[in-house]
C-alpha cells in the first residue's frame, strides 16, 4: 500500500497525457459579472447574450428548472415544445419552472418568433438568446454539448443534467421526476 500515493500520481499523469487534445478551455467565462440585457419595448421576450443568460440557467433556489434551447426553424424542437408546455402547466405547483431559450436569428424575431409564440399561446417563459461567440458559450453551457439543437438542461441546486437529444412526452416527464423526489 506504500505505493498508493505514487499510483494516484501516475493515474493523474497518464490521464493528463490523454487529455492534451481536449476542448478549448472556457476560462473566459469565469469571473465575469457583466449582465447585458437588451430590452426592446413591446417585445414579448427579453434578448440576452451569454453573460445575461448565464444567471437564468444557474438559479440557486428550491425550484426545478427546465431549460430548453430551441428555434422556430428546428423541426425536432418544435415537435417537443408541447411536452415542455405540458410539464410547465402540470408541475407548476411542484415548483417546476420551464424556460424556453430561442436561438432564432434576430432578423426573425418579428417575422417568425413572435407569431409563433402567439399562435401556440406559449405559457412557459420565453427568452431570446443572441450571442455569436459559440466556442465560448457552447462549452460553458455544458462541456459535453457538441452544439446540436435541441438541447435541454434540468437542474435543481447542485443537481444538474444535460441532454443533447429530443424527448418524447414520457421521457421528459421521467427525467423531470428524478428531480421531484
Amino acid at each position: 500500500m506504500k505505493y498508493m500515493p505514487l499510483l494516484v500520481l501516475m493515474i493523474f499523469m497518464s490521464c493528463k497525457n490523454e487529455s492534451t487534445t481536449t476542448e478549448v478551455a472556457d476560462s473566459e467565462t469565469e469571473g465575469k459579472e457583466v449582465k447585458e440585457e437588451k430590452v426592446i419595448p413591446n417585445r414579448k421576450f427579453k434578448i440576452y447574450d451569454y453573460d445575461g443568460l448565464e444567471p437564468l440557467i444557474n438559479k440557486v433556489d428550491d425550484k426545478v428548472h427546465v431549460v430548453n434551447f430551441w428555434a422556430t426553424w428546428c423541426a425536432p424542437c418544435v415537435k417537443e415544445l408541447p411536452y415542455f408546455e405540458n410539464i410547465n402547466a402540470k408541475y407548476k405547483e411542484d415548483g417546476v419552472e420551464v424556460l424556453l431559450v430561442s436561438l432564432d436569428f434576430p432578423k426573425d424575431y418579428d417575422s417568425k418568433l413572435i407569431p409563433f409564440i402567439e399562435k401556440h399561446q406559449l405559457q412557459s417563459k420565453v427568452v431570446a438568446f443572441d450571442d455569436t461567440d459559440q466556442n465560448r458559450w457552447v462549452p460553458a453551457i455544458n462541456k459535453d454539448w457538441s452544439g446540436a439543437l435541441p438541447a435541454t438542461i434540468i437542474y435543481k441546486g447542485d443537481k444538474r443534467h444535460f441532454y443533447e437529444k429530443s424527448f418524447t412526452k414520457e421521457e421528459l416527464e421521467t427525467e423531470l421526476k428524478q428531480f421531484l423526489k
Partner: protein, 203 residues
C-alpha cells in the same frame, strides 16, 4: 514498476471511460485516422478522398441546405475552397441528413442549391448515413480538417469554421483557416477543437 505503470494506465482508461457520456459518441478525436468513402456528388459521379492525388489534406464539412447555421456559412465554405483547393486542401462537403425527414436536403435540392450558389466544391450525399457516424459528426455545419500522411488521413482539427455564425464581417477567430494555414506551414495546429452551434443531424 512496469506492472504499476500498466495498472495506472488501465485505471486511467477506466476512470476516463466512467466519465464518458453518450453525447461524446464514438467519433474521431484529433490524431485519429479518418476513413475514406465513396459518395455520390451532385453531378452523379462518385467521389473519394483518394481521388485527390495531389491533395495535402482535406477540409471535410458536414453541411446541408436546410439548417440556418449551415446556410449562414455557405459563402464562407465556398471561400474556404477558393482559398485552399489550389494549395492542396480542397473542401469536401457531405450532406448527412435523412432526406425522408428533410426533403429539402435531397439530391435535387442539393443540386439546385449548389447551382444557385455556384459551389465549386463537391457536395456529396451520405446515402444510407454510414459516414457521418464514423466521423462522429452531430450537427451541421461540422468541420474536420484532415492531413494526408503515410499512415492515412489524420484528423487535425474538429469544430467550427469561425467564431461568428451570423456575421462573416464580425469574425475575429478563423479556426478552420488557422488550422489549414498551420498545416501548410508545417506547424502544429494550435486550437485543435472548438464548439459550434448547429442543427442536429436528422436520422
Amino acid at each position: 514498476m512496469k506492472n504499476l505503470k500498466l495498472l495506472a494506465v488501465v485505471l486511467c482508461v477506466f476512470t476516463l471511460s466512467a466519465f464518458t457520456t453518450i453525447t461524446d459518441g464514438d467519433g474521431y478525436k484529433v490524431g485519429d485516422v479518418a476513413t475514406d468513402f465513396s459518395l455520390e456528388n451532385i453531378d452523379g459521379k462518385m467521389v473519394s478522398l483518394a481521388d485527390y492525388k495531389d491533395a495535402k489534406g482535406y477540409i471535410v464539412i458536414f453541411t446541408c441546405n436546410t439548417c440556418p447555421y449551415a446556410v449562414a456559412y455557405e459563402d464562407r465554405i465556398e471561400a474556404l475552397n477558393k482559398k485552399y483547393a489550389d494549395k492542396g486542401y480542397p473542401v469536401i462537403a457531405i450532406m448527412p441528413n435523412n432526406t425522408d425527414v428533410k426533403p429539402g436536403d435531397n439530391m435535387e435540392a442539393m443540386q439546385a442549391r449548389a447551382k444557385e450558389k455556384g459551389f465549386t466544391f463537391p457536395y456529396l450525399m451520405d446515402k444510407g448515413q454510414k459516414i457521418y457516424p464514423q466521423y462522429g459528426a452531430t450537427k451541421t455545419p461540422h468541420v474536420y480538417v484532415l492531413e494526408k500522411t503515410k499512415k492515412g488521413n489524420v484528423v487535425k482539427y474538429i469544430g467550427a469554421i469561425d467564431n461568428n455564425y451570423k456575421d462573416a464581417a464580425a469574425v475575429t477567430e478563423t479556426y478552420t483557416e488557422d488550422a489549414v494555414d498551420a498545416l501548410l506551414n508545417g506547424g502544429e495546429v494550435k486550437t485543435k477543437t472548438t464548439k459550434a452551434i448547429g442543427c442536429s443531424i436528422k436520422v
